[in-house]
Symmetry: C2
């Protein structure tokens, strides 16, 4: 991963000349964003850790070089990118520690509790909500606990579960599972870099969550090493033995302890994958189709409905020339629907089941008035499914802000939420003097509601990027809270959403979280400043 | 409900002469169990509650008559029945308080916290694990907080959710929902008497949970009134905003506060219901078929596989003459499979979907070697689905113990769990000098495992019923714990399973629960002696 952005430096998702022209015409000329050199990034001098740390994990597993510290000093949110490029990080961990076993995690947490050293568990570092920021909150020393050495994989073929180490990145986990003929089916946009521990700690939802389930739905058992000890839930399909402690550890974002093992449901590798696109006349009728699909139990495994703005802009920005052509030609065939909304659908599994389920979904789409665009744009979407964050770097190079955020609500209030958030982001950008494009897709559909995922594009305000971002973020969050949607459907709380947790769970909810935190982490060393205000 | 047993005194599920003969032949002659008269039941004199309680709810909503107190002094477990019939309850609430609003619940909890009065939330009183026993644990006074006046129903047709008061009994909730064309689809054996609040507090699972979902899966939002204040989760389909507090309230069994409102997913009323029975050669092959159904996503909405003992005894005990005849004739038609295992399957919903799903399930059952017994025995099962507890009273009248318990495990370890629990119960009964019949069905199937529901029958040991029961219960629980299954799949913890919670969730899990309990209920008035050891 590039130290200053997303993905391999070798991979670029180019923004073509037509797209640049479109951006300039709609958002105005922008000043390209520069990036300092790695050695120019300023971080405070590291404070030494107790010698016991190196004794515990071995000296080779304690890294305190400049690059190691910079790489764990920020996640991959838009403000993170701005700070990294400017070389102005508020702080960095004093060292990166790589435990080689659960026992070593236990001992490190003991040392840190005793010595008062903050600990930030680190997986892929892909948080877009400030989940791995090294906030000290009064602690003088802080270490990044990088879990990459905890990468066990044990598959139970009969029960279709896999027990996985937290440090496995998405592709590593899938490779090991594929060797045994199974898959998690968990493919969030961060898939290439994010880890199993991170998926669990943040309640990640993949693009195929309608079919395979969100990550928190896949988890059947979880183990947590907290400063106060170990907790693990039984490997069982379900229990009625009181409150679900598994659901306390899921979403705990490193603030209660370190997730050291996850057992999750897996599925046989799909023999067939059928992806295709449809075009709805407008967002409302498209949403109505998705609701019908969900409530009739015939949801595709992937379903995402882009609004008019996203449909139009995706087409213009589409990173893959082939994909763009494919979508464009389909689009032109149904050009009487100019202003329509694309629905990408995917079905995966055993061939007969895929075709049967496809037929049932297609019937709903057709009777809702959608026009089939065929498989080419579906395949194109699939090929480009991880490209969003690469594209964000390119846009920033060109001088444009690209920010995303997500929420969810019941079907009854989804339209209200859509209008409120879109309006709030648009107004905030205008107030910043950088009127932008606000677009949205509906995904992760449920019988009772769905998620809305917003993206906005605008001219970057050189030198005032963080102020500009904060205005947009605050406006969007306040609109969500006002409409009683959730502050996050699958990006988690991190630092950025912590101020809104009181609105999300109420005062007594906060107190319940605090009570658990104080019992499991009495000194408060675990990921300070996140999750609990 | 009969004060001393299950259901309306007008309804009896008779045990016919052939069944009695079978019981006598297999279990030995038994001494019929008597029952004292209501006025003979001994309970301590009620201690007066502060006048503020009556001022809060109104004098008519404070009941302290003998029958009211006896009716809230026990649930409906086997030991409860024994104590009720003997008129030897350890204790009873000092009064029954019926709050008429959430505000009244708040004020009652304030008074009780201040005055040190224990509170046992009371719904249908159907707990089979000692969930409503009036344990004082050091408090001098105890009141039963009967929630029957909290019975609001609000349906959101578009989102297919319903917001329900905790005091609604199963049939009341369904009647109100039917009027709006929807159903919860939650039909546990206790359906006729248990309440919405109880379903949520105990993580109830209905007989059709494979299709409609367990109750905890249906709940999208929940409100708790605790001594420390109110907590409510947003009405949203999902959130990644930290640990799921909804999952803390679900299963809280009145030990954290009072569940005052539940929002749950509903479904359109099924237009078609197709129930039928199949016969597998043996339990292992039947279990393999259910596993295949679950892992191929073609589970019927109801699926329960009885082992050979349960198949044989159900046939002999079958309460409904018609049902018995129907099952028997089918059974005889496939009598070459004597010693087989019945699988009851049910599909509900829109007719085309029912038939499509039936065909897919049937294909799996046929290729697993099951023989179709047709719809008559399926309908018979459906008619008798709530009869179990009525039958238990009849058996006790005849002098026989009938006890049930459930657990769950992954498919990989289900056989081991089955053998261990069956063996432990059988050995414990033999040691008591009352060798019995141990039978089991597999139900509530998941992709990764299933629940096992055991029933045992034996001669009652007159005068030593509780000792006999404790020996059986302890043996079963120890076998479950030893095999790392869950101590309860859907009956909850109550008093009876509390000693096994340490094995279930570990020492740190207990500490986490304690921390929450202490924050939400600082004086510890809520349902003392349950859930947390």
């Amino acid at each position: 991963m590039k130290w200053w952005g997303w993905g391999s430096p070798a991979k670029r998702v180019e923004v073509g000349p037509e797209a640049v022209a479109m951006l300039r015409s709609e958002l105005g000329e922008a000043e390209p964003a520069e990036c300092v050199r790695l050695e120019e990034v300023v971080v405070p001098a590291p404070r030494p850790l107790p010698g016991e740390v190196a004794t515990t994990v071995g000296p080779a597993a304690v890294l305190d070089g400049h690059e190691h510290r910079v790489r764990r000093a920020a996640g991959r949110s838009y403000p993170d990118l701005i700070r990294l490029r400017a070389g102005r990080l508020e702080d960095a961990p004093d060292a990166v520690v790589l435990p080689g076993s659960v026992g070593e995690v236990t001992r490190i947490l003991e040392i840190c509790s005793r010595e008062g050293i903050a600990v930030v568990p680190f997986g892929g570092g892909t948080s877009v909500v400030g989940g791995v920021e090294p906030l000290r909150e009064g602690f003088e020393r802080l270490l990044s606990l990088d879990l990459r050495r905890l990468r066990d994989v044990v598959v139970d073929r009969r029960s279709l579960t896999a027990t996985l180490g937290p440090g496995l990145r998405g592709p590593e986990a899938e490779e090991a599972l594929h060797a045994q003929g199974v898959t998690l089916g968990h493919f969030p946009q961060s898939f290439e870099y994010a880890t199993i521990g991170g998926f669990a700690a943040t309640r990640s939802a993949g693009q195929a969550s309608s079919g395979y389930g969100r990550f928190d739905e896949l988890v059947t058992s979880i183990a947590l090493t907290a400063p106060a000890g170990d907790m693990r839930t039984l490997e069982i399909p379900h229990s009625a033995a009181g409150p679900a402690l598994r659901e306390l550890v899921l979403g705990s974002e490193g603030a209660l302890g370190v997730i050291t093992r996850v057992t999750a449901r897996v599925r046989p590798l799909p023999e067939r994958r059928r992806y295709e696109a449809w075009m709805a006349a407008d967002f409302d009728s498209g949403a109505e189709m998705v609701r019908t699909l969900a409530q009739a139990d015939v949801l595709p495994d992937v379903v995402r409905l882009s609004d008019q703005a996203e449909t139009r802009v995706s087409l213009a920005l589409s990173g893959t020339a082939g994909a763009k052509r494919a979508l464009l030609s389909s689009y032109l065939r149904v050009r009487r629907r100019a202003g329509g909304c694309v629905i990408v659908c995917g079905w995966e599994g055993e061939p007969e089941a895929v075709e049967r389920r496809h037929a049932l979904s297609a019937r709903v789409l057709r009777s809702g008035g959608a026009a089939a665009l065929g498989r080419a744009p579906g395949r194109a979407w699939e090929r480009g499914r991880y490209e969003g964050p690469y594209l964000r770097d390119e846009l920033l190079d060109l001088g444009y802000l690209a920010e995303t955020l997500e929420t969810a609500h019941t079907w009854s209030r989804l339209g209200e939420l859509y209008d409120a958030v879109r309006g709030a982001i648009g107004a905030a950008l205008a107030t910043q003097g950088t009127p932008g494009i606000v677009m949205c897709h509906l995904s992760h559909a449920y019988r009772d509601g769905a998620s809305l995922y917003f993206t906005c594009l605008a001219r970057r305000r050189p030198g005032a990027e963080l102020e500009q971002w904060r205005a947009v973020k605050a406006a969007a969050c306040e609109a969500i809270v006002e409409t009683e949607g959730t502050i996050t459907h699958h990006h988690a709380v991190g630092r950025d959403h912590t101020p809104y947790m009181r609105a999300e769970v109420g005062e007594l909810g906060i107190e319940a979280l605090r009570a658990i935190k104080e019992r499991l982490d009495p000194v408060g060393i675990m990921n300070p400043g996140k999750l609990i205000p």
